[in-house]
């Protein structure tokens, strides 16, 4: 029993650590692989359970990749959740830290500044693209675009405004419309 528990923890680590290094473009890039591993290969969850855990991981705050924690929890309790989370975040974090350290070495040189200056508009474009990607993937159409445009305007108009009240307002409006039979 003890051994099989340790084996399970090791298996969680063996599945999530490599995915950590493959998650280019963010945690979402690996969802298909996580589904394949946990449903077909390891039989940690049924297909339905996986869909539920995925929806749940999106309903909670923080980085969306809490999916790893949920699967670990499903398989081996809190220890499983811890192992899966560490395995999913640590390898990419170490790689990033090493890269930043090497990059920081050339700080102040002319080409370093040119790289930072040249990279900035691409990063700004990626912010905008991230928002558009969510809009395009949403099952809700015009209402989503309208709410997103309104939130954008308010956040630009008041740069120090805390975003949480805006989120709650938008969530409440959508919920009320749905509750009173409106279609979004």
């Amino acid at each position: 029993m003890r051994d099989s528990f340790a084996d399970t923890l090791f298996a969680l680590f063996a599945v999530f650590a490599p995915l950590s290094l493959l998650s280019f473009g963010g945690g979402n890039a690996t969802i298909a692989d996580i589904a394949h591993q946990s449903v077909a290969v390891r039989h940690w969850t049924s297909e339905r359970e996986f869909a539920d855990l995925f929806a749940l991981s999106r309903a909670a705050p923080g980085p969306g990749s809490m999916l790893a924690a949920l699967i670990g929890w499903n398989v081996a309790g809190v220890a499983g959740a811890l192992v899966a989370t560490i395995a999913f975040y640590l390898p990419s974090a170490l790689l990033l830290f090493a890269a930043a350290k090497i990059w920081g070495h050339w700080r102040g040189s002319r080409w370093h500044q040119a790289v930072e200056r040249g990279i900035a508009p691409i990063a700004a474009g990626l912010f905008l693209s991230g928002g558009l990607a969510v809009l395009r993937a949403s099952p809700v159409g015009a209402a989503m675009w309208l709410a997103a445009a309104g939130a954008t305007a308010v956040l630009l108009w008041r740069p120090k405004l805390h975003p949480v009240p805006l989120l709650l307002l938008s969530g409440a409006v959508f919920g009320l419309i749905d509750l009173f039979g409106g279609t979004l």
Binding site: P63, S92, A120, L126, V134, G171, L179
Partner: protein, 186 residues
């Protein structure tokens, strides 16, 4: 220490931890990178937008969850290795606890259709967070025609057409860096 902090009082590790712990509690709806931008650049002013965007481009070129990558890089700018660790740990700690707690109740509320509608509404506002961060970042950097064009091509490729990020960044980066290099010629 890194020589890259802005000229301001050193921010203590507990302060950094609490700031990211708080971000972890409230950053609903994904787009954690935009949450970090809003809090660290726009609201607190702990890092400037150029440093943040440079870090973001470095982070986007490497694997990993975007929010955590930005926490690590901002933490590193503020207080080196200890700052990076404390920021990443702070951002993860609360969601980790919350997700396990929410897991216990979700089964009972998931069948309500309105729950999904509320989540969609929250997600819509978070889209606003991403869009406003992008527009703010462009407006803060000296908005030259070339950098606006580069940003527009990025949006077209990644956001509209849906190309993967890595090849787009690798193609545009040399062009954009070349323009910046030519401009900086003394």
């Amino acid at each position: 220490m890194m020589g890259d902090q802005p000229a301001m009082a050193r921010i203590g590790l507990p302060t950094i931890f609490l700031a990211f712990l708080r971000l972890g509690c409230i950053s609903f709806g994904g787009g954690t990178g935009a949450w970090v931008y809003r809090e660290m650049v726009q609201r607190r002013g702990w890092v400037d937008e150029r440093g943040f965007l440079a870090d973001m481009a470095l982070g986007q070129s490497l694997p990993g969850s975007n929010g955590i990558k930005m926490a690590i890089l901002v933490g590193r700018r503020l207080r080196g290795g200890a700052g990076a660790f404390i920021a990443g740990f702070g951002l993860l700690a609360a969601p980790f606890a919350i997700i396990l707690a929410v897991g216990a109740v979700y089964g009972r509320i998931a069948h309500h259709h309105s729950v999904h509608a509320v989540l969609e509404g929250v997600a819509a506002a978070v889209v606003g967070l991403s869009l406003s961060s992008g527009i703010d970042a462009i407006a803060r950097g000296t908005p030259e025609v070339s950098s606006i064009a580069i940003a527009a091509v990025t949006v077209l490729g990644v956001g509209v057409i849906g190309w993967p990020i890595l090849p787009v960044v690798l193609t545009l980066a040399p062009v954009s860096i070349g323009i910046a290099w030519a401009r900086s010629r003394p």
